[in-house]
Symmetry: C2
Subunit: 401 residues, 2 copies
């Protein structure tokens, strides 16, 4: 009598089924048009199917191929989709590393829950990636080419054929690996042109996210609607939109990256590293952001080389504050961070008819972005005594084939 | 010597390529589990591919099949997707009709532009649908079964394989037709249970759309993030969320439908048909909404049968105003409208701990929803002298096969 609890299967990377490709794809040369297209994946991919009735099916590593998707699928109509951006790094000790992969796993789970996609054991994500890279690592990130990386894209989509507006009853987790141009090696700055991004502050009638919305989750729904503004900015020579929010024009994030500024506090005269807070759920809780904040708090509270100490401040701040600091020559530097852009300095911010040079005033005291980047790179590539850092997940057992 | 302007091809339904299925699918019986699944499409579908380099390729009507989509496709990661909901009706004169299809075409174009998808000649949409229904109409909406309809889903997705966050360089327009349960015939109300929807007002920390966002466009991005709230509402017996916005809790729309209320104005004692305005871009500009407003303005400014005249009011109004009117017994009726739900009365609205019965007070003076619905049905199915209404697009040339 009474119903028997029906337990559905958990996502389990340990039982992964592996099918090797017999038709290997050409590996694009660094900087080649194929690599620049961001569309050329490695030989294999991970897939794992979920149904509401039975939970997670056996995950697979299998030859890369197009997905067969019903025209009625939820992901094509209702944006039931979320993803992560990660990288796998070929270390200078020859090892493959992921950087804080459980942070990505946890965030993918949070994003999934925000758009009614299934739950999963997030620690399995890194193991699935390891299974993929054990096979594709040797060929796509050769051991004798340390310092290279692949971009990883774990994605979860509503894949069932039910067209009604409802919680997805089927889903597909897939993970692909893509050769990605190295932004730091990509643009050879022309003679006399300073490196760095140009940001265009968003117009008051164009808002990326809102309290009670979903700007904090890595949902497809945050990206598509931002592409028009992004495209217009690119057409007039800018790299990213600096998204402002609210009557007071708070600075939130830059394109798909988190935004940081180092300035001199007017009252105290001390240096601050400032970034938008997470509490109001407007910005993405970046893994790089979190790591930058951690390193700045632990390492930059005292002088490092020529760098003066900075206080780390997570708070709402406005573009007027930035403008005021710029007018008063108090800006040391500004940068964005994220997986795709890593840590990249900003050279210009345009807000309305005001162009703010971010490099001029602070040049003599700048270098925080470069220092943090160097610390992170040591962890990612296992150098400078950071071979076994707690943020690293080392992928063992690469295939010999 | 200067570049030659490169003209890309327009979407052109007149050159459609037709490939007939040789393996016809079973037609689900009305009310069958197959029909209730909203996943069983007709024998054919329309597809048209677009590339930034060449524009629109030749559209096709071809056997229904899964789409082959690169795992890197923009639509799976960045929600570059928009759609329309339409119906094709089998009239009592044996003819197939679309209802104001250019309104849908125009809105699909607007939605496409909001999410960086390509432009197209929107008048072609109805012609592509006609090509599809010329083939699938006779079998899926038999001429001897007037009063039936199929749900149509034109969809536009970013389909190219470029994983970078950028304006899509390839897109796919597809149109599918799906047998759909008739909501008015679906639920046989139990003895003593009044018909009508139950709406749950959204919580203050859950926002569907915001000024400067994209709530007015029919983007996938408006749906996925709303499914969690929708699922929770359904789990406790409600049909839809009534989405409120702002500090003052403005009533915007209900689920994926527009919301209307008929109440007595406290000052004038006159009846008003009230719905949220389009100006602040929070709600979808429904084709049914527009038609309801038109009919109410043109036909209901004078008495109709037992119905007193109503004044049509498009303005922001709050849930407190609804609550006040309900307490004072001034509510005549409330209803939602949209393609999927057509015109459906509301029986209950819950806001926090207040349950408002929408049927009680006004029962003797109600009937506006039913009257408007009857007028619309006459146009959709070609009855009551509405065989050639200006809102109808009649599909000629159905296949004899």
């Amino acid at each position: 009598m009474g119903s028997v609890a029906h337990s559905v299967a958990e996502l389990d990377a340990s039982v992964v089924k592996i099918t090797r490709s017999t038709n290997l794809r050409p590996v694009p040369a660094p900087g080649s048009p194929e690599e620049l297209s961001h569309s050329h994946c490695t030989d294999h991919m991970v897939t794992a199917r979920w149904t509401v009735a039975n939970g997670w099916e056996t995950p697979e590593v299998k030859p890369f191929e197009n997905l067969s998707i019903p025209p009625t699928a939820s992901c094509l109509h209702y944006a039931t989709e979320c993803f992560e951006g990660m990288k796998v790094y070929r270390g200078y000790d020859g090892k493959l590393r992921l950087f804080r992969p459980d942070c990505n796993g946890e965030r993918l789970l949070m994003s999934a829950q925000r758009t009614a996609l299934p739950s999963f054991r997030y620690e399995e994500l890194k193991v699935l990636i390891a299974k993929l890279m054990q096979i594709d690592g040797p060929r796509w990130l050769p051991k004798d080419q340390p310092g290279r990386f692949l971009y990883l894209r774990p994605t979860l989509i509503g894949s069932g054929p039910h067209l009604g507006v409802q919680t997805p009853k089927e889903a597909l987790l897939f993970i692909i690996a893509v050769p990605w141009p190295d932004p730091s090696k990509l643009k050879k700055p022309e003679e006399g042109v300073k490196p760095g991004l140009k940001l265009l502050a968003s117009a008051p009638d164009s808002i990326r996210a809102w309290p009670g919305g979903f700007g904090y989750a890595k949902l497809g729904a945050n990206y598509g609607p931002s592409l028009v503004a992004h495209g217009k900015a690119q057409a007039i020579g800018f790299d990213q939109i600096l998204w402002l929010f609210g009557q007071d024009r708070q600075v939130t994030e830059a394109g798909a990256s988190n935004f940081f500024i180092v300035w001199e506090n007017k009252e105290t005269g001390k240096l601050e590293l400032v970034t938008a807070p997470l509490e109001n759920q407007l910005i993405l809780a970046g893994v790089t952001r979190r790591s930058v904040l951690h390193l700045a708090r632990s390492e930059l509270s005292k002088p490092v080389g020529s760098l003066a100490p900075v206080e780390v401040v997570e708070r709402s701040f406005t573009i007027s504050e930035v403008e005021q600091a710029w007018k008063e020559g108090r800006i040391i530097e500004a940068f964005v961070c994220g997986t795709a852009f890593f840590v990249t300095p900003i050279k210009l911010i345009r807000n309305g008819d005001v162009d703010m040079d971010m490099l001029e005033a602070g040049a003599a005291r700048a270098g925080y972005a470069a220092q943090i980047k160097a610390w992170l790179e040591a962890i990612m590539y296992g150098t400078d005594g950071k071979e076994n850092h707690e943020w690293s997940y080392i992928i063992e057992g690469e295939s010999e084939k």
